[in-house]
C-alpha cells in the first residue's frame, strides 16, 4: 500500500490532507479497451465534486470503482482513508448512492422502498420511523407515502431514490446523472435538494453532462474525455483558462464574405449544426461587425462551462 505522505506530495489540491476520496494513477480496462487512464483526484470532505464528460467518457465507471462495484485495473483508490479493494462494504455502509437508472422496487410503496433499503444496511426501520418521516418530508413525498412506485412521476421517483440514499445518514453521496430525463421543474427541485445536502455538510460526487448543473452545484470539477482528464478546477477557473469571456451565437446562414468579416473580429470561431459561435474577450469589434452585416439572429452571452466543454471535447456526436 502507498503511504499517505507519498500521496500528499503529489495531489493537486492544498486541502488534500482531509480528502474523503483520493485516487492516484487510477486505471480501468476491459480487455484491450482502457476506459479510465491514470486518474488522480483528491476530493475534500464537505464539498461537491463534479465529474463531467460526454457519454462514454468513463464517468460511471469511475463511480463504480469508488463504490467497490468495479475492481480497479491499476492505481490506488481510497475512500474515507480506506483501500477500496478491501473495504468496499465499510465504505458503502457510509455512502448513499443515486444510480443513473431507476432501481426502485416496483412492487413496493414509497415508504416500503425506504424501509426495505434500511434493512440492507442492517438498520431496523421499526425504530427509525421518525427519521423516515423526515426523509419523506425532505423530498416532499409525505402525502404519497403509500403510493406504489409505478404510479409516481419521473421526478418523484428520483426524489424517492434520493431519500432512499439518505436512509443510512451517509457522509458521502454518489449521484450518477441525478437529473437526466427530468423536466425543468423537477430538475430545479432536485438541485435545491442537493444544495441543501451540501449545506448540511455531506460530501457529494456527481456526474453530469448538464453544464448548468455543474455550474450551480459543483465546487470543483474535472472534465474527462475518453478516460483522460482534459481540464480541472472550479467553474470560473475553467472558463478563464480555456475560453474567451464572451460568445456570440449566430443562427443566420453566413456567406463566405460574412464569415471572413466575423472571423477577423473574433478570436476564434466554432460551428455546431447551423450555428456559428464567435468567441472574444472584448466583443466590441464583433458586435460592430455583426451590426454592419445586418445579422439579426444573434445571441450575445457570457461564456459558460458549455463552451469549455465543447471546446475541449469537440462537437462530434457521442453515443
Amino acid at each position: 500500500m502507498l503511504s499517505k505522505t507519498a500521496f500528499d506530495a503529489q495531489t493537486p489540491t492544498s486541502s488534500a490532507g482531509d480528502a474523503l476520496i483520493r485516487c492516484k494513477g487510477l486505471c480501468k480496462s476491459f480487455g484491450e479497451l482502457t476506459v479510465v487512464h491514470d486518474l488522480d483526484l483528491a476530493i475534500p470532505a464537505g464539498t461537491c465534486f463534479g465529474l463531467l464528460g460526454p457519454n462514454g467518457a468513463g464517468k460511471s465507471t469511475t463511480l463504480r470503482m469508488i463504490l467497490g462495484q468495479s475492481p480497479p485495473s491499476g492505481g490506488v483508490l481510497e475512500v474515507f482513508g480506506k483501500d477500496i479493494r478491501h473495504h468496499g462494504r465499510d465504505i458503502r455502509a457510509r455512502t448513499g448512492v443515486v444510480p443513473q437508472a431507476d432501481t426502485l422496487d416496483p412492487d413496493f410503496s414509497v415508504i416500503e422502498n425506504i424501509t426495505i433499503y434500511a434493512r440492507y444496511f442492517g438498520l431496523r426501520p421499526g425504530v427509525m420511523r421518525h427519521e423516515i418521516d423526515e426523509l419523506l418530508n425532505l423530498v416532499e413525498l409525505s402525502d404519497r407515502r403509500h403510493s406504489r412506485v409505478s404510479t409516481l412521476s419521473g421526478g418523484m421517483k428520483r426524489r424517492l431514490t434520493i431519500a432512499r440514499a439518505l436512509v443510512n445518514d451517509p457522509e458521502l453521496l454518489v449521484l450518477d446523472e441525478p437529473t437526466t430525463g427530468l423536466d425543468p421543474q423537477a430538475r430545479h427541485l432536485v438541485w435545491a435538494l442537493i444544495n441543501g445536502l451540501k449545506r448540511s455538510g455531506k460530501t457529494i460526487i456527481l456526474t453530469t453532462h448538464y453544464l448548468e448543473e455543474a455550474e450551480r452545484l459543483c465546487d470543483n470539477l474535472v472534465l474527462i474525455d475518453h478516460g483522460y482528464v482534459v481540464a480541472r478546477g472550479t467553474t470560473k477557473e475553467l472558463i478563464a483558462t480555456h475560453c474567451e469571456k464572451t460568445v456570440l451565437e449566430i443562427r443566420n446562414t453566413l456567406d463566405p464574405l460574412q464569415k471572413k468579416t466575423i472571423q477577423n473580429a473574433a478570436t476564434r470561431l466554432e460551428y455546431s449544426g447551423d450555428t456559428t459561435y464567435a468567441y472574444a474577450d472584448d466583443p466590441t469589434a464583433l458586435t460592430t461587425a455583426i451590426d454592419r452585416l445586418g445579422l439579426e439572429q444573434v445571441l450575445h452571452r457570457q461564456a459558460t462551462l458549455e463552451d469549455v466543454f465543447l471546446r475541449l471535447t469537440g462537437r462530434g456526436i457521442r453515443d
Binding site: R92, P99, D102, T103, D105, D107, Y120, F121
Partner: protein, 259 residues
C-alpha cells in the same frame, strides 16, 4: 494480492430473503391459487383417472404414489422457476441487484438470500400438495411431516442449479433449454409417475446422477409411510448438488456484475 475470505452467509442474506417474502405476501392470492389449484387438478385428473386403470403401484394406491412424487417434483419446479424467471427479473430488467450492491450487501449475500427464498417458496408449494394429498386420503403416516424440512433442502438444491443458468442467461428464452433438456426429463424419468425400477438397466444408472431421483426416493417413503432406504446417501447427493450450484452461481454472478 491477498484475498480476504468472506463468510458465506451474513445477516444481509436474510434481508434479501425478507424483501422477496414481502413481495410474495403482497401477491399471495394468485400465488396460493397456483400452489393449491394445480396439484388438485393433477391429482384428481391423473390420480383418480389413471388410478382407475392402474390400481396399485409399488404396493400403494396410484393416487398416493403420484401425490408423493408430485410433492418432490413441485419443489423442483417451484425452485427452478423462481431461480430463473424471478431471479432474472430482479437481476436484469428490475435492477434490484444494482440497488442491493450499492449497500453493504455483496454478491454472495444476494445469492444465498435468493436461494433461501427459492427454498422457502418450494417448501410452501410442496406443503400445498401435501395438504391436498391429505384431503384426498393419499397420506398415511405422520412421518409425512418430516418431508417439510426436506422440501427446503430439495428446493435449495434445485434453485442453486437453476441459478447457474440464470447467471449465464441473456434473456428469458435461454431458460427453455434448461427446462426442456434438464427439468422435463427429470420430471418424466426420475420416479414421479412410475417406479424407476421399470426403466431399462442403463437408464437406471443414468438417473442416479439426477437430483430428482434422490428427492423422490426420500419424499415418497416419508409421505406414504414406507421404509426409507439409504436416506443419508440421498440427502448427501442433494446437498452436494446444492453446494456446487451455490459456489458456481456466486462465481458466475460476481463475474457478471462486478466488472
Amino acid at each position: 494480492m491477498k484475498r480476504r475470505r468472506q463468510p458465506l452467509v451474513r445477516h444481509q442474506a436474510f434481508a434479501v430473503w425478507q424483501r422477496n417474502f414481502l413481495v410474495w405476501r403482497k401477491l399471495i392470492a394468485p400465488s396460493l391459487v397456483v400452489h393449491f389449484g394445480e396439484p388438485l387438478i393433477y391429482l384428481l385428473g391423473l390420480g383418480y383417472g389413471l388410478g382407475l386403470f392402474i390400481g396399485k403401484m409399488a404396493g400403494m394406491p396410484y393416487l398416493a404414489f403420484l401425490a408423493s412424487g408430485f410433492i418432490a417434483s413441485s419443489a423442483m419446479n417451484t425452485a427452478s422457476f423462481e431461480a430463473m424467471w424471478s431471479v432474472y427479473t430482479r437481476m436484469v430488467p428490475q435492477r434490484t441487484y444494482e440497488a442491493l450492491l450499492a449497500t453493504p450487501i455483496e454478491v454472495n449475500d444476494i445469492v444465498v438470500g435468493e436461494l433461501l427464498w427459492c427454498a422457502t417458496k418450494s417448501t410452501i408449494a410442496g406443503c400445498a400438495i401435501l395438504i391436498v394429498a391429505v384431503f384426498l386420503g393419499a397420506v398415511s403416516d405422520l412421518s409425512a411431516l418430516l418431508s417439510i424440512p426436506l422440501l427446503f433442502v430439495i428446493g435449495f438444491c434445485f434453485a442453486a442449479l437453476a441459478m447457474i443458468v440464470t447467471a449465464l442467461a441473456n434473456g428469458y428464452e435461454f431458460f427453455s433449454y434448461y427446462i426442456t433438456l434438464v427439468i422435463t426429463p427429470m420430471f418424466i424419468l426420475c420416479g414421479v409417475f412410475y417406479p424407476t425400477t421399470t426403466l431399462p438397466e442403463g437408464m437406471q444408472q443414468v438417473i442416479q446422477f439426477l437430483p430428482l431421483t434422490h428427492a423422490v426416493a426420500l419424499v415418497r417413503p416419508l409421505v406414504t409411510g414406507q421404509e426409507l432406504i439409504a436416506p443419508f446417501q440421498h440427502l448427501l447427493v442433494l446437498i452436494a448438488f446444492g453446494a456446487v450450484g451455490t459456489g458456481l452461481t456466486i462465481i458466475l454472478i460476481r463475474r457478471r456484475l462486478i466488472i
